[in-house]
């Protein structure tokens, strides 16, 4: 999981944007729409990054697709030390 977190958040093209999403979700769980507004990103961009985070088991979602609130998975919470290390390393874009 640690390697996945580093790859998805630090070593891929969308890493900096996904770091912003992780920071926002760490404040409180939000849905895609709220994330787009909060981070001033395009809704489809946010959905793209959330899909990458979902596919890699970094976040999970509750409820139906459109209103779904995103939260961190157990795998991410177990490795929260790594997440904090990454958040300290990778600046927002």
């Amino acid at each position: 999981m640690e390697g996945v977190l580093w790859y998805v958040l630090a070593s891929s093209r969308g890493g900096p944007s996904r770091v912003r999403i992780v920071r926002a979700l760490d404040e409180r769980p939000r849905n895609a729409n709220q994330l787009a507004t909060e981070l001033d990103l395009d809704y489809t961009t946010v959905r793209h990054h959330l899909d990458v985070l979902l596919e890699n088991n970094v976040v999970g979602r509750s409820g139906d697709e459109y209103a779904a609130v995103y939260t961190f998975t157990d795998a991410t919470r177990t490795n929260w030390d790594t997440v904090e290390e990454i958040l300290a390393t990778v600046e927002d874009d």
Partner: protein, 100 residues
Amino acid sequence: MTVWLEVALAAAGVNVLLLLALGSVWLRGYRQHGAKHTLGLLVFAGFLLVENLLWLYFYLLHPAFIEWFEATTTEVQVGMTMLCGLELVALLFLVRITWR
């Protein structure tokens, strides 16, 4: 020129392009945040780039190597081609997850 030499040459050429693309993402990332993980990938891309440039040199500009390749058996030609060909497949998977 045997067709296998052409395929191997093309694979090495595409590998160089893919490694430059991957390297550019990792170099940009490393410059921005200096994470060790990203540096590791950058070093990996650097060495694979040198490897593929060496292949390009042999396949394109080294008469003795080309002569040997054309004179050897088909199974050796296919085997040599798979070195760059399989690396191409592996790099395509890496590009797919890195570009997202």
